[in-house]
């Protein structure tokens, strides 16, 4: 058998006791088609190099050939676990380019839906993270609760995964009848379920042993690498776009931002988990103070923004989703650049993985919650 090292030389060469292992793109815990090239000594990782691009779909180039509204469904496919937040990032950018005034109610609905999406996304993260660490049951529990949110979204816009609900100038439609009641039921259910998750997994002794002190990133390193979202806050940096650079109607609400201290797997996971509670609190606030009115501004059929460029960013469940949009005055965007938090966080992987073992590797990948659709775009 020809060793892989002979086919593709490893930079720096393999040490005497070292082995080159391909983790992925077909591996149960790389969350999709991520390939990590591991140089291991026994099970200890000497070097980890992520290799991305297996899911590349030319999103940015394709967007240039489509009109502004047509790009909205495309953005769904970037981070398919939290499609709503992606749409929001994109439509906010277009609105900024147009200088469009969005109705008040639409802004509040956007907050409501984005936070529901955040809970749904974090539930998927929680389930898969537990799965990575060998606990299968939390996954089923988390998916069960996520189902409630997907049902809500289905009632809202007919789709369960790729919604195209956020529109340029507002949202597609108002809340359907019964949405408010069902959301309140969900809010009532969730706290006890979150406690159940804690008892089952987050406060489990084995879980603590597996996650404390693993994959540490200092606050300085996190900032230097451009980390954002829970990955950044896990290292103790108090930065949340929803609070520090509010968009939509976030400035009208109180937001609790959970922080970690050590920047290890445990703290990142803690941040994500507590964010679910914070989001549920936020959803309740929105439901209490939802204004009446239009949900969509009048926009021309063919959108031709004036020439110019904007950068707009939102806090997605994974971190900062940024959209850099350039218009040349035509009906299609001249350039769409997507800043995906998963892609940025993946660069932290070599730093986090070094010196740990393969078993920790899956915990680390789980803790930064990457979505390969977003990494490769």
């Amino acid at each position: 058998m020809t060793a892989i090292s002979e086919v593709r030389p490893v930079p720096g060469g393999l040490g005497e006791h070292e082995l080159l292992v391909n983790m992925g793109p077909q591996h149960p815990s790389t969350h999709g088609v991520l390939r990590v090239i591991l140089r291991v000594d026994g099970e200890r990782i000497v070097e980890a190099r992520p290799d991305v691009g297996f899911l590349h779909r030319c999103f940015e180039k394709v967007s240039e050939g489509w009109t502004y509204p047509q790009v909205v469904p495309l953005t769904d496919r970037n981070d398919y676990v939290s499609a709503m937040t992606n749409e929001l990032a994109y439509v906010l950018a277009v609105e900024k380019l147009l200088g469009l005034e969005v109705p008040e109610k639409a802004q509040h609905l956007r907050v409501l839906i984005a936070e529901l999406q955040r809970v749904a996304s974090h539930l998927v993260w929680f389930g898969t993270f537990a799965l990575d660490l060998g606990a299968t049951t939390p996954f089923l529990y988390a998916i069960r609760e996520r189902e409630h949110i997907l049902d809500l979204f289905e009632a809202l816009c007919g789709a369960r995964l790729t919604y195209s609900y956020m529109r340029i100038g507002g949202v597609r439609n108002d809340l359907p009848p019964g949405f408010d009641r069902r959301t309140r039921e969900f809010l009532k259910l969730m706290p006890s379920r979150l406690r159940e998750y804690e008892n089952l997994f987050m406060k489990n002794r084995i879980y603590e042993l597996r996650s404390r002190g693993i994959g540490r990133v200092s606050a300085e390193e996190a900032v230097a690498y451009g980390a954002s979202g829970p990955t950044l806050r896990g290292s103790g940096v108090d930065w949340d776009l929803r609070r520090d650079e509010p968009y939509a109607a976030y400035d009208r609400y109180r937001l609790r931002v959970p922080l970690g201290r050590n920047g290890d797997v445990y703290d990142r996971a803690y941040c994500r988990f507590e964010e679910m509670r914070a989001s549920l609190d936020l959803i309740e606030q929105v439901l209490e103070s939802l204004p009446e009115g239009e949900v969509r501004a009048k926009v021309p059929r063919v959108i031709k923004p004036p020439p110019g460029e904007v950068y707009s960013r939102v806090e997605s469940p994974r971190g900062e989703v940024g959209v850099y949009l350039v218009s040349d005055g035509g009906p299609n965007p001249y350039r769409v650049k997507w800043r995906a938090p998963s892609f940025v966080h993946l660069q932290l992987l070599p730093l986090m993985a070094k010196g740990h073992v393969i078993a920790d590797m899956v915990a680390i990948i789980g803790s930064i919650d990457i979505i390969l659709g977003e990494v490769d775009r």
Binding site: G42, A130, R210
Partner: protein
């Protein structure tokens, strides 16, 4: 009526035995035939149990995870699922990787399976229902259970794949750290019974079960059992989310079925041993011994499954340090306490 049939069979058996013992040749044939009959009986018992267990595991896990589990293959509750699975596995292509070490690759599943089979020899299912009441039963057991790892190691090395190799190395590395505490824990029971024979151990528990006298020993035994059975939280050699599927990644079809069979056969065997050592074996009121044995064994198995579907997995080095720093001292303390108890009480 059952006792009637049993009596008739006994009579028939006695007659054949008597007739055979008249000549040296026929008594030899009888001895071989009788042994073969026992082997077939064990395998049948094992396979039936495994089929039930695979279904039960899926049902128990489904119950824990608020699902239904298999429902489609026959009613009620898809009981024929395991049969369907087995037929499916038999129909699969038998793949041997080109770069594999053929001999090792082929032998490994058989070694695993045989190791599981050997344990049944000393499991007492009733006062006289034991294949062979060895007077060194527990020693034999300690030797035979270590054999499983041979299969794992051969499969991992023979597949010539990096993931399987890592799985095999984990299996080999962890075995000492849990086998020693396990044997030491079992020694406490042996001291109480004053015998290595499994039948004697069961009989010694006619008054009080060992679980009452040996709680620490039992916990050590239980922890080591999970490592021995390759189950979460100690499923080092398999570790699906880490090592793809560990040592059996490259196996398919019938050979994989053998590993699967061995895994569940081990589950039954070691649960039966657990019941024998700590829960009074086949002893119990009203019901016949075999019924008690099965009830207790299955209760034990459900406990093992329950833990498996609840906990996350520990890391290999954590298992090693847990074995050496927690289980070993605990089993030694247990041994010392048992010794003092026997001396003074």
């Amino acid at each position: 009526m059952l006792t009637d049939i049993a009596a008739r069979l006994q009579a028939l058996f006695d007659q054949v035995h008597l007739w055979c013992s008249q000549s040296a040749f026929w008594s030899g044939v009888f001895a071989v035939g009788w042994s073969l009959f026992k082997v077939v009986l064990i395998i049948a018992f094992m396979v039936v149990n495994v089929l039930v267990l695979v279904w039960l595991e899926r049902k128990v896990s489904a119950r824990i995870q608020s699902r239904l589990g298999p429902m489609r293959v026959s009613r009620p509750h898809g009981w024929a699922q395991s049969l369907a699975d087995m037929v499916k596995l038999l129909g699969k292509e038998d793949i041997i990787p080109r770069s594999a070490d053929r001999a090792l690759f082929v032998i490994a599943p058989i070694v695993s399976f045989t190791a599981a089979l050997l344990v049944y020899v000393v499991v007492p299912m009733g006062p006289s229902a034991v294949v062979s009441d060895l007077n060194i039963g527990m020693l034999y057991l300690a030797a035979v259970t270590s054999f499983t790892v041979m299969g794992v190691l051969m499969a991992g090395w023979g597949s010539n794949s990096k993931w399987t190799l890592l799985g095999a190395m984990r299996g080999a590395a962890s075995i000492i750290s849990y086998e020693i505490p396990m044997v030491l824990a079992v020694l406490g029971v042996v001291m109480l019974a004053g015998s290595l024979s499994t039948t004697a151990i069961v009989q010694a528990q006619s008054g009080l079960w060992n679980i009452v006298l040996q709680p620490i020993g039992f916990l050590v035994f239980l922890a080591a059992l999970f490592a021995e059975l390759n189950r979460v939280p100690f499923d080092m050699a398999e570790a699906e989310s880490e090592l793809v599927s560990g040592f059996n990644t490259e196996y398919s079809g019938l050979r994989f079925a053998f590993f699967f069979l061995a895994e569940y056969a081990n589950l039954v065997a070691l649960s039966a041993i657990g019941v024998t050592l700590y829960f009074g074996g086949w002893q119990g009121p009203v019901l016949p011994p075999l019924a008690w044995f099965l009830i207790k064994t299955y209760a034990f198995i459900v406990l093992v499954m329950w833990i498996r579907w609840t906990l996350p997995r520990v890391r290999i080095d954590q298992l090693l340090s847990f074995g050496w720093k927690v289980l070993l001292p605990a089993s030694l303390v247990n041994l010392a306490v048992t010794g003092i108890y026997l001396l003074w009480v």
